[in-house]
């Protein structure tokens, strides 16, 4: 390596380290603030490091209003319903698009992608009125339906691509043995598409767990808040004074599941991200 190339590599490494520091700073100091005592977390001027370790902020969030467990349960219930709906809808749809001669197939595909062109933010009012008349406002399933609208185009696209990549011969052999199309899907295509299923589930979970606006509008009953909406209340606090420690503890709790998924299943997450975001 020439001296100039070595100098450039060293400079690149230095910039990398600086970038890592800048990107991690907000998360690290928020975590550190969350384990300060409540008084220190609200002290001005602030300090980077806690002078003593305290979990009182987490305890406060745990007992906040209806209780953290209620909000966690709401978030999880909606996320799992979203995952279920996405699977039930996108797997057969992807199968149909990948394997069947359907009239006007590409047009129908475009219809399924239409939520990409009609942002859900625009149709929340009619959806809200519809759900109110159906008794779905303030229900887990209602919010899960909205989250499914968000995730369906990506899910269908993902399943179609994955099924198309499975060699037809596998399935034809199965059909010859007297399998129905449903059995072929169940026995051949689904096992061969496991990575796509994992990706679909991951994305549906993260999208639902993180979604804010629809949860804010549809879950007006306090016992139905999801975790991000709980944060709105935590921030408002009592008598107008923000309880910074509790808010930061809430933020950490809200980030944690996504962070774990990202660290453990990065491979699926990044690959799904690449297929889904551009096309």
């Amino acid at each position: 390596m020439s001296a100039a190339a070595r100098r450039r590599a060293l400079l690149g490494a230095a910039i990398c380290v600086a970038v890592i520091a800048v990107m991690l700073f907000p998360i690290v100091v928020t975590f550190l603030s969350s384990v300060k005592t409540p008084a220190e977390a609200s002290a001005s001027p602030p300090r980077y490091f806690p002078s003593e370790l305290s979990f009182e902020n987490y305890l406060k969030v745990f007992h906040y209003q209806a209780g953290l467990l209620t909000y966690l349960w709401n978030s999880l219930a909606v996320a799992f319903l979203t995952i279920g709906l996405c699977l039930v809808l996108a797997v057969p749809a992807g199968y149909a698009l990948a394997r069947f001669q359907i009239p006007a197939k590409e047009t129908l595909f475009l219809v399924l992608l239409s939520p990409l062109m009609i942002p859900y933010q625009a149709i929340l009012t009619p959806l809200y009125l519809m759900f109110a008349s159906l008794g779905l406002a303030n229900s887990h399933i209602g919010l899960a339906i909205v989250h499914t609208i968000l995730q369906l185009p990506f899910s269908v696209y993902l399943m179609r691509n994955s099924f198309e990549a499975v060699p037809r011969e596998l399935e034809e052999a199965a059909l010859c043995d007297g399998c129905s199309s449903l059995q072929a899907l169940w026995r051949i295509l689904l096992p061969a598409s496991r990575p796509a299923i994992v990706t679909l589930v991951l994305f549906a979970f993260i999208a639902s767990w993180n979604e804010f606006l629809a949860a804010l509008i549809f879950m007006s009953d306090e016992t139905r808040f999801t975790v991000p909406i709980m944060l709105v209340g935590v921030r408002q606090g009592h008598f107008g004074a923000v309880d910074w420690g509790a808010l930061q503890a809430g933020v950490v709790i809200s980030i944690l599941p996504c962070l774990l998924i990202y660290l453990l299943l990065q491979k699926y997450y990044v690959s799904g991200f690449m297929t889904g975001s551009i096309k």
Binding site: V29, A90, F100, L213, L259
Partner: protein, 290 residues
């Protein structure tokens, strides 16, 4: 036989089509109908013709919000793309440090927009925020900055938080695009004595042009939908200067309970965003066909 199989296929497609029909297309029709009424959660369903639209025409806050949304998009998109591309150049190598950097830069993408806004509101707070402390400790500012009393400072605080949160999105797509360029092209140009900057300009940029274009569009459309970051960080203030379109529609529909009027605003805004989405879809499909 073929048509029977076609019917079976349609059967598999039916649930998803039905879902989109009931929960996306039908509400869209409802939105159009509502926009000509005085619909409200408090009652009232009178037909008003174009009245909501003429009202929107005179609604200064609506146009200000639309302009503010465009301004936000015009500011943040170039920052995201240039930074994302620079980070991609920095981390497209196969070294461990490069991969680690890529992983860390992408990390905030998995955090929710709402949650990250709550995280940053604490960091930017003039009393307890560590952004001011860091800037003071490093000597960049001498007095704490009060970020959210000024519309411009507030906008920049939001932009900083969103750049942190989503810059990894563009970076990752650019990295993939850069990595798909053959190594031999670079080696040949190095033999020809091209400088690093020349290689970026003459090889990397032209060959990743399509990815850059598509990512820019996706990113810009995403910014046009901005709501959470302003709802949480600036609350539209000061003096409704930082309302975005979605925020103002939300405000009218769910805070003032003027659903009919909100529907008209939604449709006007939708037309703007829809145009962008169609351009994106056409370009993206052309790329897949090619």
């Amino acid at each position: 036989m073929a048509s029977l199989r076609g019917k079976v296929g349609l059967l598999y497609l039916a649930p998803a089509l039905l879902f989109v029909g009931v929960f996306v297309l039908y509400p869209l029709v409802q939105l159009v109908i509502m926009s000509s009424t005085s619909a409200s959660l408090l009652g009232g369903d009178e037909f008003m013709g174009w009245k909501n639209y003429t009202k929107a025409w005179d609604d200064d806050t609506f146009w200000q919000a639309l302009w503010f949304t465009c301004k936000y998009t015009l500011y943040i998109t170039p920052i995201l793309m240039v930074l994302g591309f620079a980070l991609a150049l920095l981390t497209s190598g196969a070294t461990r440090l490069a991969r680690l950097t890529r992983g860390v830069v992408f990390l905030p993408v998995v955090i929710g927009l709402g949650t990250s806004s709550f995280l940053w509101i604490g960091l930017f707070d003039e009393q307890v925020g560590l952004v001011n402390k860091l800037l003071q400790d490093t000597g960049i500012i001498s007095q704490p900055v009060v970020w959210f009393v000024d519309a411009n400072l507030g906008l920049w605080a939001v932009i900083i938080s969103i750049v942190w949160k989503v810059v990894g999105f563009g970076m990752l797509l650019f990295v993939a695009s850069i990595q798909s360029i053959g190594v031999d092209l670079y080696e040949a140009s190095m033999l020809d004595g091209a400088s690093a900057w020349q290689r970026v300009r003459k090889i990397t940029l032209p060959l990743t042009y399509r990815t850059i274009l598509l990512t820019t569009l996706v990113s810009a459309i995403g910014s046009m939908l901005a709501f959470e970051q302003f709802y949480i960080m600036t609350a539209g203030g000061p003096e409704s200067e930082t309302f975005t379109s979605v925020y103002w529609i939300y405000q009218n529909s769910f805070i003032y309970f003027k659903q009919g009027y909100g529907a008209a605003l939604s449709l006007i805004w939708l037309a703007v965003v829809f145009a962008g989405s169609v351009v994106h879809l056409v370009l993206a499909r052309r790329e897949t066909d090619a």
